[in-house]
Symmetry: C2
Subunit: 477 residues, 2 copies
């Protein structure tokens, strides 16, 4: 891909193919400089390369010209009105990022840590898992992983459902899909490294052993923030969409839309009815998201109108607010999407029996509520001043306190939830959280047999003899 410049005007980045290496010697052709970019933090199995072209002639017909054409005379022409469809693959890739980093990988780390902590004895508390800190961390991360995984999957499915329409030339679903997939990519790749590390730390220094499997998961998720689109850019792409919506809302004089003005302050987080509490949290997240975009919009427009700044400078100065608004919108969307996934459970033609579905739904509502409350209270400090009329101080404190109870309610199902994903021992590749739960024996087997110097202490013999000769020599001097 490179900037396409014809007749002096730049049409932006366009794709093309060209020959890089000599077919016989495999050496780069003249004017072409390329190579491997070297060892990276994570994903070293992928041979990312660099490429610099210096005065290389690429024939016009080597360009991929389905949605645009450069004619022989250099004239540039768009073909049809569907040129935005080239972004659609990007949307799919981002939805996969969403379900992978903050979803499946966090579930994997939580599963290893939950199994390990359940069998590790801990003083008076029975198991390490009963430690309030460990239990809160692991159950919350499992809930977060499940929420992001299911929300990401729902977006992939939505994309697949809409793709035929898009390819038929209807690009109307693209802006919303592109915006939320950008937000999901950022949210998930932020939550991934943080969640995996939190799980790893619950296992103490054993979680630092590569043999525990956790450092590998940690390294795998760590590059997510900056690859496939930097997260700040991702959130700002979503923010651009939200700013457009907000401008339209104000122009239409619509003051009610998505404002969550109907948030009810009376709620019962500890009651058996997680579903109604989930609806309450959906409204609260919606309100937070809306208030934050309003604040960012006001600040940005006032920088333009009052201080006369150019738009790009006003945008830059408010980017912290814009990113916070985009993050809040993404979480709000994920909570709502997770709710829809639960409600559609068992609606498939091949769904299981009704009774089982109700049981599963209840547990999933517990998962949803914990994710919704935890994600709300842990980021409420950016917008507390905007919510005081809707969320009194005492309610916020109650909400925070309710996390312990929600964790206790969900904890007995934690092992079943992680086992339910059928993660194989081969995939987890761990000696501390295998399916059988035989942590202690597994660790000793690993360190005794796998490490070369432990398995074959004779390997040390030459070193030892070398040292002995050295000291003999010294004593003779």
């Amino acid at each position: 891909m490179a900037q396409l410049i014809t007749d002096g005007s730049n049409h932006g980045v366009h794709p093309f193919v060209c020959q890089l290496r000599d077919v016989d010697t495999h050496l780069p052709l003249s004017g072409i400089e390329l190579g491997d970019i070297g060892t990276k933090q994570g994903w070293n199995g992928i041979d990312n390369g660099y490429l610099r072209l210096d005065n290389v002639r690429v024939p016009r017909t080597n360009m991929l010209m389905k949605y645009f054409v450069v004619h022989k005379d250099g004239r540039y022409e768009r073909i049809g009105s569907n040129d935005k469809a080239i972004y659609s693959t990007l949307i799919y890739a981002r939805s996969l990022c969403a379900s992978f980093y903050g979803g499946r990988m966090v579930i994997m780390a939580a599963s290893v840590a939950i199994r390990h902590c359940l069998v590790m004895k801990c003083d008076k508390y029975g198991s390490l898992f009963e430690n309030r800190f460990v239990k809160n961390t692991l159950v919350t991360e499992l809930a977060s992983g499940l929420a992001i995984w299911l929300a990401g999957n729902a977006l992939s499915n939505e994309y697949k459902r809409l793709l035929p329409r898009i390819m038929d030339g209807d690009s109307s679903p693209l802006p919303a899909l592109h915006a939320i997939s950008s937000g999901y990519k950022a949210l998930s790749t932020y939550l991934g490294p943080e969640g995996v590390e939190r799980c790893r730390r619950c296992c103490g220094q054993v979680g630092g052993l590569v043999a525990s499997g956790l450092p590998i998961i940690s390294e795998t998720v760590s590059p997510g923030v900056t690859i496939d689109g930097d997260n700040t850019v991702m959130y700002l792409q979503l923010a651009r969409y939200l700013v457009k919506l907000e401008r339209r809302r104000r122009e239409d004089g619509d003051s009610k839309n998505e404002r969550g003005d109907d948030v009810d302050n009376e709620f019962d987080s500890s009651g058996p009815n997680s579903k109604s509490f989930a609806l309450h949290m959906i409204k609260l997240h919606g309100l937070k998201s809306q208030k934050l975009i309003e604040q960012a919009y006001d600040r940005m427009t006032s920088l333009v109108t009052s201080e006369g700044l150019p738009l790009y400078e006003a945008w830059n100065r408010t980017s912290v607010d814009l990113v916070q608004a985009a993050e809040a919108y993404t979480i709000s969307y994920a909570v709502k999407s997770f709710y829809d996934v639960i409600m559609s459970c068992g609606n498939d033609q091949d769904g299981g029996p009704d009774r089982d579905d109700e049981d599963l739904k209840n547990v999933l509502f517990d998962v949803l509520c914990l994710f919704a409350v935890h994600s709300f209270v842990s980021s409420v400090n950016v917008c507390y001043h905007l919510l005081t009329d809707k969320l009194p101080t005492s309610n916020l404190s109650d909400l925070r306190q309710s996390i312990d109870k929600m964790v206790d309610k969900l904890a007995p199902n934690a092992l079943a939830l992680s086992d339910g994903l059928d993660l194989s021992d081969a995939e987890l590749d761990t000696c501390i959280g295998t399916y059988c739960g035989n942590t202690d024996a597994d660790i000793f087997n690993y360190v005794a047999d796998v490490q070369p110097y432990n398995a074959k202490p004779d390997l040390l013999k030459p070193v030892l003899e070398g040292l002995r000769n050295y000291f003999k020599l010294r004593s003779r001097l």
Copy 2:
């Protein structure tokens, strides 16, 4: 070290020496199982081992018996009243952790990233550093690194000053020193990985190249949370001390002590007088810390008195509150300690000229204020409900908004501050943030020359020929 049991009573963990390996064969002696624990996430240069003793007889005189003795008849006796001095080395080690992880290592990462982002061009904004998000992140992390580094150093110095007294038998400074060193260890090792990652991410995917030096720093700080004492345990050790202080305060009927009731709500964060603003923030941090320990204390005692729980269970149930209180106390202590360091600048006999010291002090006050405000607002959500009478909603919002201005004030000094530490290119080991700032050329030199397949493309020849023969073979089939 092992549990010492004599006459049926357990006296806890005690140190001893014993022979592990045969001097001739270097193989473990009978009953001794040992080895290397294997590859770890970070610090792989250190050969951490495991050891299991099965029916191994250790002679009584092999114990280190300076502060206690086991007599021939099995009687256990403490010697002198200075047995707590054995913890003192621990305090020193923790103060070193404090200045290393969240201090020096974050400064190193921030230095690399600041140099890189200053020279990377970025569209209309001039350099990537001018991006609001990047600038806020890097300047805030540099400030945080400097604050933790200086506060950690101050604790090491305090320890060295008090050590002669402690070794002379005066153990009175130990509880406070042990408590704050535990808190520092936890705070610094939490801030380290987070800060380094935030700096790394500002460099985009280039920060993921091992050649950038940042992944190495990231890996080095990552195990800090769980080594040399798990952070949750560290904070709970400090919390135990704070709970004791709080109980004594209540028994003494002292309602004023450290309560920060004199916090003044009128402050000017943007004014030139950073020193008075620093004093304001010290009071605010003190208030937050005190309110949180009061809340944790109330909750814990009410679980014991109202619900009749045993103390260890009440302690476990309130551990999230206790850890939050301990963290707040540690930050508050670090802010105060940093303030004292600045005030004592130039008081040394070999201090520089007065004028220079004043300039340096002013910049350091800017650093202190930014660290104090950022650490306050980013954790205020755990205690906002406790502060409403002292910190109105509007003030909190103003405080958050003031960060941009403080960053802008400090930003012109960012490069000088990081250069001022005289970090050598050899120590940073980076191709993106060298002292000369020649990022682009450095990266290309690195990837072109250092990676073996890039430097010697002929290395690929046998692979290529192998492939060609394979395809020839297939075409013949």
